[in-house]
Symmetry: C2
């Protein structure tokens, strides 16, 4: 007969220890473990998650033997505690709680005080000699049961209670007497009858079975389903049900209840940290009706409180609790979040689990525990969510400041920033030069806006997704950025925007929170981050562990310097076109594009050559001998032309051209789908003189730089072997010209982006001519999924809601689709050229899940925006640990992830 | 010692027969074969293509033993004919001709009369007793040798000759005397000295070796390289050199020269067909200086000529030639194109090869030969180039009419059409309704122009590629269409266009030739096609042979009827959005798009439902029980909205809406890359009510149609399994509603397009929910190559010139890239669902090379525009033959193609 029920507490032999939380749920497993450690927990038993699964698969029926097993378990429990369920004189009260494998706080249901009815409440009153307590407990039970099991909405009960208090001019629940509760109980029962058509059940067995059923059903309630979808969790698994003898912290002044962390969850300090309330139930601590007291004397003194700490009020219990704290940390090898109740001087532990903590405290705890030998360095590395480091690297809002939320967009680039609204890049620059902080607000940004984005403290757009132009550039610059805030109705003419009814004018102040996409009215104060020594220590451990190198995507000297400060080991993507947009050069670029023939084009390019060369010299001098991957011109030429009539006239005047010529050229260059248009190496093949100029600038710069730079010239948008061959010959031809002229040579590599499905498929033959591949996963995602990152905003939300995309494929690699192409390309490329260097330079290069995959398929490096470098360094170390764990154990990657995280 | 030289003629044992044309070149092999058949050919020898390869790989040197072998061969030749090379009294003259494996007419060089010099010409004069002939031959030799070997341009020689004729007031070459030729020879020698710095070589051995070298070199001249690139031929292979004793048709009235076809190459009639000239050399026939005479008496009488036919003038020779005609056809099992010379009453055959023919004659010849048992039916099927059938299905220009070419664009849809230029779809409709023939000229077309395209006789655009909107729609309608004619400068305002300097106004007449992309000024008369019984016969043979079913892409009843007439076995793609553009419905469609909420949207859809249902009823009644694949709405909604201010105002008035609402909605819906935007099933997921209406219309129509239609509902742009699952549930839900309401059911299938790389990669799981796959290779090509079919025009030409694309990937499948994804999808889909039906509905479904590949990977059907159906039927039969040949012989597909074509 299958065992559906496991006991815990009361010195029970831990028959369940090995079963773990998958079978018993998190709560059940922790109770069993505490029990096995000899820690006092109120006895009880867990009905396994298997029963939940059975229940949902069998039309809400239960396994045959369950009834017997529960009956026997109740009997066992009655024996252990000396009370009897439903006994009018000596009633056993139990709690019925859910407990899924993975914590889903607040998502599922709990019933306390089960076992009370019109008879047993009398017995309880007699036995405790506390009728007020007994009737309060009974009404609490009816309220919870009514809500959870009978689906009668909370507010019906709350209405009755508040009406009663109003009638009698009472303020606190504690002001209500035994008879008051009795009256309320009577009203509660009436409302249950009215809402459900049935009386409140008096049979305690019915109560028990219905509560069990309600908890199992809550696994599939809408709230829980939504929660799991949002947190990317499976609907499989189910919840366990824990039935446990009630203990009470509200039976007098020798009673108390509290919550605690084994270390300080804000700072990570190794100090006992928590709160308790005398003569109260757990829910009262949470409800915040009374101000809880500190656990320790030290904390009380720091807070200058006159309420005694537990250490002072119940020194013996405190001592026992402190011992348990040590025991739990040693056992679970992590900071614990615990709940306890003291019933008439006796300590009972109700819960222990890993405690939530801030990024800073997580770092400190991990480093402290590793240094004290409690966990290994690998475990310390695995304990930190790489993305949480963003909190440490960017300014955050002062949590104490008031906020007025205007709307929420996509969290495109982290950090918080305040400033005055401006609607054009020029305005942004002007005001910034005058010393003002500005937020640049646009429907969407284009390369022409770069100077304004640089000048702004933050960027807000109403269109676009996580890899839209604004998002990518802002991340690169480390500017806070919110995109796709579709509630914004921008009117450029009037220089205003309306956000869900609020009018915001140019010059008004707003605040952006790039980390969560919030747009706030006015200036909200922010706090600047300070990097701790724990950060440095952990990053050092990560660096010694990881295989993947981490590079940055950077063009400007400033970005390159930031990248090096954050530990970048090279530049993985230098987008040369970003260098084309500065004041003077953009004119030459436009002259080049507007040229009527090759000679005119060459003349314009000749002017660009020296400035482009100077850019590279500066970059090489910063990066020293570290590798620098330079991508030749990628975007279609029309991106460089002006769009508005006014701008066209200005350019016409500057270049002494008929404005019609500009208009016609712009029309000629217009494309239906620029993403799939005349760009990348297609430009290099149509207008070889452009690439020739760029290659010349790179190599001439290399020959005069202070050091010998490590250059990789990268050709974008290759789809065929022949393109690669032609481009390689072009680069080699220019190189040998430059080397002849300068009588000096330098070695460098020529490679390509893999950013089209065809390039991935034909990687073997492309590798004949390419010395490295860099996966351009932004474009590879767009083409593989047929999904424009600029246009997907309109339906991406729907797609995530309906579970079509588990995460934004532009933020985290679509491993099943895009990933398969990457794997193929890596294998085929290496088959042709075993020494082929492999990297990634799409936005995914800074995403931890994507980085794990990059390790899996054997890339050599990832490249991401400078501010993501620390995240990538940590994620890369975790990837190494996972993969080596996987190889050592020859197991599936998902399991490896889980087990290596578990230590 | 390797044999570099092979002899032929003069009863030579055919040591070379088995070597075939790869070693000996086409000409050499045919001479050897004729020789082996006992047919009189002037003796000579062939220097193999291996020597050419050696020559190019070894810095223009020759194999060591070649000199000896040629010396011995000349000796052998001298013995056979009784003349001696360079002998002043008895000189041997030879021709030196190129002859590659595959015919490259006019691409490579030939030298005749080699062996003449200042001494031997005297001997020739004496021996022939015809000094004029001898000196004429010498000057011809100098001219050819000067041009081919010494690179002195033709015009220098022609100038001398014409100046001489002017000076002496002579008209024809035949007016020149012996002394005249001597004077000219002297001038020829001077010009050679002046241009080359050297005298014309008198040493006949030098002449021979330099001529051989020149022919070998001509393999890699620019003309030949370009020709091979255009015809998609390899640079490998090389040419052979044929050295052959000269025979002369210009030595008197018992001499003649001629060309003939063994059947009539225009009609295919089994009649001897050719021309000859008395007392002339081969080049004279081609030069057209004198009018050639007919070969047969019958032909002479039909032409009412008074010049005797060869049958009459030389009956014995004619009899011998007729016997040879029969022998050659029996031997080569195909219609032959032959050249012959009669020297002093003796017939010599100079060449035989498969004759070029019109599509109509190719059909007749293939059917006749198969019916007479000369070839098999499979061979007959293989003999016809499927694309050549287009000539038979569409009107063609009257070849006799004069033409003025304006420009040339891409040949987007075949057929010829004339009409008055109009620049808007509305104007096209108005004028067409008034009975005029019009040509619609647009920069590019959009779905709004459909009614104008329907009304027009032909469509011309200045933008776009082979699968641009204009091209696809025009092919579907069978309208001649030329796209991407970038020389057009259209001015909509002025209602004019300028084409390379010529102004064309609205109302002017032009003519389009869709088959070759020509745009002609004025109205050029066209000839309507009549389908022969041979066509019917061959198509029947093809139909019994092929595995692949052939369906058509069609929406309108008219298209469906045309498709059935051409033998379509179903509709493979019914694009429901094409049904949305007619006058009244487009308004409702717009109302639906402009709806402020779901209810308004549903109201508009309710109006569309009955008309869409009627469309389907009509379609089902035409298609009877044949399968009809209906694709639900695919294009992004903005395609249906008006673009110009005027149109927006009109719509606003009609719908009683503020024009600002329309403008704002259009802006909201605007996309950067619509191809990768909110379209296909993404619409079905965002706005399920649209798909619900369409499914309802389909199924309600099915229940009232005259027959039980065979319906396949197709979901576009699926990228993930979940999308497919959601869409399938939607269709099933609506179906069960409709069936419940109507108390009647019908079975149908639900499937998807495979048009995104991700869908191909995840085909296995998508097939869990899809009963069929239809490869949408237009979009799959766009995404796999990252190439917009609307924008690729600007660089596709460059790409083809540089050999990056061998053919337009939108016209013929990119088998290496897109093809691999298709193969994967087919395998993975079938692995999941062995009964999965597989088809293709992209433009490639009508392209023969693509169809062969579809057979290879096991598709069930191809679907193409109605006018391509016969082409597809034939190509499908050829595919079956190829593939079974391949399987039977277990060989590579390329070899199978070659061998199965060779019969």
């Amino acid at each position: 007969m299958k065992q559906w029920v496991y006991h815990f507490g009361a010195g029970e032999v831990p028959q369940t220890h090995a079963q773990g939380s998958e079978l018993l749920g998190g709560k059940g497993a922790s109770l069993a473990e505490m029990s096995s450690l000899g820690i006092p927990v109120p006895p009880g038993f867990t009905i396994t998650t298997d029963v939940c699964t059975y229940h949902h698969l069998h039309n809400k029926n239960y396994p045959d033997s369950l009834q017997t097993q529960i009956k026997e378990s109740i009997k066992w429990l009655e024996n252990k505690v000396g009370f009897v369920l439903g006994d009018s004189n000596n009633p056993l009260l139990v709690s019925v709680r859910s407990g899924a494998h993975v914590s889903m706080p607040g998502m599922m249901d709990t019933v306390l005080n089960l076992g009370l009815n019109d008879q047993t409440v009398v017995g309880l009153a007699k036995k405790t000699q506390d009728p007020r307590f007994a009737y309060d407990s009974y009404r609490r039970f009816i309220q919870m049961y009514g809500n959870v099991v009978l689906n009668v909405d909370h507010h019906y009960f709350e209405d009755i209670l508040s009406r009663y208090k109003e009638n009698y001019a009472l303020r606190e629940d504690t002001d209500l007497s035994e008879t008051a509760w009795q009256e309320i109980i009577s009203d509660y029962k009436k409302i249950i009858r009215a809402r459900t058509g049935n009386d409140f059940p008096q049979n305690v067995n019915d109560q028990l079975w219905q509560a069990i059923g309600a908890v199992f059903s809550s696994w599939m309630n809408q709230r829980a389903i939504t929660y799991r979808r949002i947190h990317n969790m499976s609907d499989k698994g189910g919840t366990a049900v824990n039935i446990q003898a009630m203990v009470f912290g509200n039976m007098g002044e020798n009673c108390a209840t509290g919550v605690a962390f084994t270390r300080n969850p804000s700072t990570g300090e190794n100090e006992f940290y928590g709160e308790y309330l005398m003569n109260a139930q757990g829910e009262d601590v949470v409800a915040g009706i009374r101000t809880p007291q500190s656990l320790t004397q030290r904390a009380r003194m720091l807070e200058k409180s006159d309420q005694p700490s537990l250490e002072e009020s119940m020194p013996l219990v405190f001592k026992e609790l402190s011992d348990i704290r040590q025991k739990l940390e040693r056992h679970f090898r992590d900071m614990q979040d615990i709940e306890f109740t003291i019933q008439k001087g006796k300590l009972w532990m109700l819960q222990t689990r890993s405690g939530k903590r801030t990024a800073a405290s997580a770092l400190k705890i991990a480093v402290d525990m590793a240094e004290s030998g409690l966990i290994t360095r690998d475990e310390a590395i695995n304990r930190i969510d790489p993305l949480s480091l963003e909190q440490l690297l960017h300014p955050v809002l002062d949590p104490k400041a008031p906020k007025k939320l205007l709307t929420r967009g996509l969290p495109a680039s982290p950090g918080a920033a305040s400033g005055r609204v401006v609607f054009t890049a020029d305005e942004a620059e002007t005001r910034a030069n005058a010393g003002e902080s500005v937020i640049l607000v646009r429907v969407e940004t284009s390369p022409e806006d770069i100077h304004g984005m640089h000048a702004a403290k933050g960027i807000l757009t109403s269109r676009g997704g996580m890899t839209s132009h604004a998002a990518v550039v802002a991340r690169g610059m480390g500017r806070p950025c919110v995109v796709g805030a579709s509630a914004l109705k921008i009117d450029y003419q009037k220089q205003t925007m309306i956000i869900q009814g609020t009018l915001v004018k140019a010059g008004d102040k707003i605040t952006l929170v790039g980390g969560n996409g919030e747009v706030l009215l006015g200036e909200v104060p922010t706090i600047q981050p300070v990097l701790s020594s724990d950060f440095t220590t952990l990053m050092q451990w990560a660096d010694t562990r990881r295989h993947l190198k981490v590079r940055a995507n950077a063009e400007t000297p400033k970005d390159a310097e930031v990248a090096r400060q954050f530990g970048a080991e090279g530049i993985g993507l230098c987008r040369t076109e970003h260098m084309f947009f500065e004041e003077e050069r953009i004119l030459w670029v436009r002259q080049m594009i507007l040229a009527q023939n090759e000679q005119e084009r060459k003349n314009a390019l000749a002017k660009l050559l020296p400035v482009q060369r100077d850019d590279f010299i500066a970059l090489f001098n910063i990066m020293q001998e570290l590798p620098v991957t330079i991508r030749l011109l990628d975007p279609p030429l029309h991106e460089f032309l002006p769009h508005s009539d006014r701008e066209m006239r200005d350019i016409a005047n500057l270049l002494k051209l008929d404005v019609e010529i500009i208009r016609r050229r712009a029309e000629e260059l217009h494309e239906m789908n620029p993403m799939l248009g005349h760009r990348g190496c297609r430009l290099g093949i149509s207008f070889p003189e452009i690439y020739e100029m760029q290659v010349r600038a790179i190599l001439e710069a290399a020959l005069v730089a202070d050091i010998t730079p490590n250059i990789e010239i990268m050709i974008p948008l290759i789809a065929t072997k022949v393109e690669m061959e032609i481009m390689k010959k072009l680069v080699e031809r220019v190189a040998s010209q430059v080397f002849d002229e300068k009588k000096k040579t330098i070695s460098f590599q020529i490679g390509t982006m893999i950013e089209l499905p065809r390039a991935a498929l034909r990687a073997q033959e492309i590798a004949e001519h390419a010395e490295f591949f860099s996966f351009g996963t932004n474009d590879l995602t767009q083409t593989t999924l047929g999904l424009s990152r600029d246009d997907a905003g309109s339906f991406l939300q729907t797609y995530r809601k309906q579970g079509i995309f588990k995460s934004d494929p532009f933020a985290s690699l679509d491993i099943e689709g895009v990933g398969e192409l990457m794997r193929m390309a890596a294998e085929r490329g290496k088959f042709q050229r075993p020494g082929l260097k492999l990297g990634i330079c799409g936005e995914h290069g800074g995403d931890p899940e994507s980085i794990y995959f990059c390790e899996e398929i054997g890339l050599d490096y990832v490249s991401c925006s400078p501010y993501r470098v620390p995240i990538a360094r940590l994620a890369a170390a975790q990837a190494t640990i996972r993969c080596s764990f996987r190889c050592a154990n020859n197991i599936d990657i998902k399991l490896a992830t889980k087990l290596s995280n578990a230590g």
